[in-house]
């Protein structure tokens, strides 16, 4: 007699579409998913422990390796936490340059999102187009700090070097290119009926679920919750800029994609304002060569491309942090994976991995 049976499919850690080394144990009933359990730790490097034996200044390059496609945002989070701990006032120009870099990196990170999403949907061409445009931003980073991904540009007290004319000019060129770029994405991805059919009404995260799982970043905004730390906390120079927070309607894969597309637009908007009003002045505060923050602890969070990135630093008064904890958005967002995949098809699971946009460097820390 014929009978059917559920089976477990181990997707990853070596699989074409698991974004690094994420392993997901998918329980399948035919092609229907009845459960998905993420298994992590393949990229665990112990950055929190490493930081305990490095001085504050030496810790900064390690934050590059957390979320390696938006290194600038990680630098920013760590540096701001240390500045809060040590009461360092950052010069205005440095704040603006930080915003420019962080927003450029947000766009670059969303390029990776679009690229990997389209690749997972089966259109390798889309990936190349997104990465082609990301390359322009990486070239900008190469100009300003000499590295493309692991920037280590934002430092405690300011930035590593002043932004050159060349950088500002090329950034302006890129910002002018953004509308054409988004138009091309609209024509090849957004307007495409197959994309729409693949993504609309799949892997829905409701408002309640998004709050329940403490999600953050574009993922929670796609569910329609207005929660953007740039707007709430107005850290750094973000208070000076006028920008909107794009929100999704129902929290399906399509909304998560559209929210990120619109965020590219808003980031470009912020960069434009920052470029127009870039103040003159020093790019680095006076930071003692041997940084010894007073005893105590500080928690500071920034809006990383993937959500709420927090650094909790405990100082014992020495040159090295006593304890650093990193609140990584990716690992928290991953908790929703099971809810997203349940009841969907195997192909939707791949889309769900892509739209939740976890980065294993950050998940495993």
């Amino acid at each position: 007699m014929a009978q059917t049976e559920k089976f477990v499919l181990n997707m990853g850690p070596q699989h074409p579409s698991t974004h690094g080394v994420l392993q997901v144990q998918v329980e399948l009933d035919g092609e229907n998913i009845v459960g998905a359990t993420p298994v992590m730790g393949y990229l665990h490097r112990g950055i929190e422990k490493l930081m305990e034996s490095r001085t504050y200044v030496q810790c900064v390059p390690y934050t590059d390796r957390l979320d390696y496609v938006s290194a600038m945002n990680n630098n920013l989070g760590f540096c701001m936490a240390v500045e809060k701990l040590a009461n360092i006032e950052v010069p205005r120009r440095a704040e603006y340059i930080r915003v420019i870099c962080a927003e450029l990196n947000r766009i670059a990170s969303h390029h990776v999102f679009i690229g990997s999403l389209t690749n997972d949907l089966g259109s390798a061409t889309g990936m190349i187009y997104a990465f082609r445009d990301r390359e322009k931003i990486l070239d900008l980073f190469n100009i300003i700090c000499g590295a493309r991904m692991t920037a280590h540009y934002i430092r405690i007290g300011g930035v590593a070097a002043d932004a050159q004319e060349e950088f500002l000019r090329d950034t302006q060129k890129f910002i002018d290119y953004v509308p054409a770029m988004l138009d091309e994405y609209d024509r090849i991805f957004t307007g495409n009926e197959i994309f729409q059919a693949r993504m609309q009404n799949t892997s829905i995260i409701t408002k309640e679920d998004a709050l329940k799982y403490s999600m953050s970043g574009p993922n929670i905004r796609a569910s329609g919750i207005d929660y953007d730390i740039r707007k709430i906390d107005k850290y750094g120079a973000y208070g000076d800029f006028d920008f909107e927070i794009p929100l999704g309607k129902q929290g399906d894969n399509w909304d998560r994609y559209i929210v990120r597309l619109k965020e590219i637009q808003q980031s470009a908007n912020i960069i434009q304002q920052a470029l127009d009003n870039l103040p003159e002045g020093p790019y680095m505060a006076k930071v003692p060569k041997v940084l010894k923050p007073p005893k105590g602890d500080a928690y500071h969070r920034v809006e990383n491309t993937r959500g709420e990135l927090g650094f909790y630093i405990v100082s014992d008064g020495s040159t090295k942090p006593y304890r650093v904890h990193i609140r990584r958005p990716s690992i928290v967002n991953l908790q929703a994976l099971d809810t997203m995949c349940r009841g969907m098809l195997l192909a939707d699971a791949v889309t769900a991995f892509a739209t939740i946009d976890p980065l294993m460097g950050e998940v495993d820390c």
Partner: protein, 345 residues
């Protein structure tokens, strides 16, 4: 009765052989062997050409240069690929169903090779111009389901199994609209004979008379040959490579060969059934027109494949059964009405 360079050459060859051997049966056998060899060579060459073509076109669409190291402009890249594939270690995974696993790639190649016998390459140049040509052709192409399923089942891998099941679902699902779409052509021609179908297009190509059938055929052909956006069988971001996940080296190359042979098949079929086969203005010989049209079709299929994302299995199946099949049936009805009106007039 037939004209064209290829046909005259074949006739001349036959006469020479006749004078040499003298036994008609033996000459027939020799001629068949020669034809079969040429067809197999065409198939192998198509794989070589299309490997490079696919990679170059994909690169051009993706604003890249593409392979450019081997030979001038990367022309010999596919040769290098072949040598690499032959050179590779033949990994036989543990726990497989050995016989099915080994047979699957070989069996897959058989139908892909067989259908070349029914293609009219030029006026009178057709290996087996049987009365039920189109019918046989469809019957043989649908045999590709089995090797895929065999490979998927025998590999003892969950990815392969899912891929195998998908093959069955999609190939069977799209066979039906395809047959009904081609029905219109058969109604117009009044024959299943391939040469008759081409002959019927000497004045008007069937793409003009059967635009609906043409669109349906394009979609179903992409599905039947596992081309993107319908390459669910090997959907590499979901199930890695479907039935060929566990194959390496030459075994994998056979799948590869079958895939490119299928790609050329659908190009040839589109040409033969809708684009007038070898018909064309007189300044070029028939077979040249045939190949030009085929290549344009293949380029079109590759262009489509490299632009669109993959469909999901449920969307694809419901599209086949709920959209394409009704349209195909309507097309049959319209064709019937059209023929009736034409006959009255």
């Amino acid at each position: 009765m037939h004209s064209g360079i290829l046909y005259s050459t074949a006739q001349a060859l036959r006469e020479i052989l006749m004078s040499l051997v003298g036994v008609p049966l033996l000459v027939d056998i020799i001629m068949t062997v020669i034809c079969a060899t040429i067809l197999l060579l065409i198939m192998a060459t198509s794989a070589l050409v299309f490997t490079l073509g696919e990679r170059k076109i994909c690169a051009f669409i993706q604003v890249r240069i593409g392979p450019n190291r081997v030979g001038p402009g990367g022309l010999l890249q596919s040769v290098a690929d072949m040598i690499k594939l032959m050179d590779k270690e033949d990994i036989v995974p543990r726990g497989i169903d050995k016989w099915l696993w080994v047979l699957s790639p070989i069996l897959l190649l058989v139908p892909s090779a067989l259908i070349y016998a029914f293609f009219p390459f030029d006026d009178g140049v057709i290996l087996a111009d049987v009365n039920v040509g189109l019918f046989l052709l469809i019957a043989i192409t649908s045999q590709t389901v089995l090797p895929f399923l065999m490979g998927g089942y025998a590999s003892n891998s969950k990815y392969s199994l899912i891929g195998g099941m998908r093959t069955v679902a999609q190939m069977l699902g799209y066979e039906v609209p395809m047959v009904f779409a081609l029905m219109g052509i058969v109604m117009l021609t009044g024959s299943l004979k391939m040469s008759a179908i081409v002959e019927a297009q000497s004045n008007v190509w069937f793409i003009v008379l059967q635009p609906l059938a043409f669109l349906i055929y394009i979609v179903t052909a992409l599905v039947e040959s596992n081309r993107p956006p319908f390459n669910l069988v090997e959907g590499e971001s979901e199930i890695i490579a479907g039935p060929f996940t566990e194959y390496t080296g030459m075994r994998w190359a056979l799948f590869f060969l079958a895939e490119f042979s299928n790609l050329m098949c659908i190009g040839i079929l589109t040409t033969t059934l809708f684009l007038g086969g070898w018909h064309g203005p007189d300044f070029l010989p028939g077979f040249a027109w045939f190949w030009i049209k085929t290549f344009i079709c293949v380029l079109f299929y590759q262009w489509v494949g490299w632009t669109f994302p993959r469909l999901r299995i449920d969307t694809m199946l419901s599209f086949g059964w709920k959209v394409l099949l009704p349209i195909a049936l309507v097309n049959v009805l319209l064709t019937g009405v059209g023929i009736y009106i034409y006959n009255i007039m």
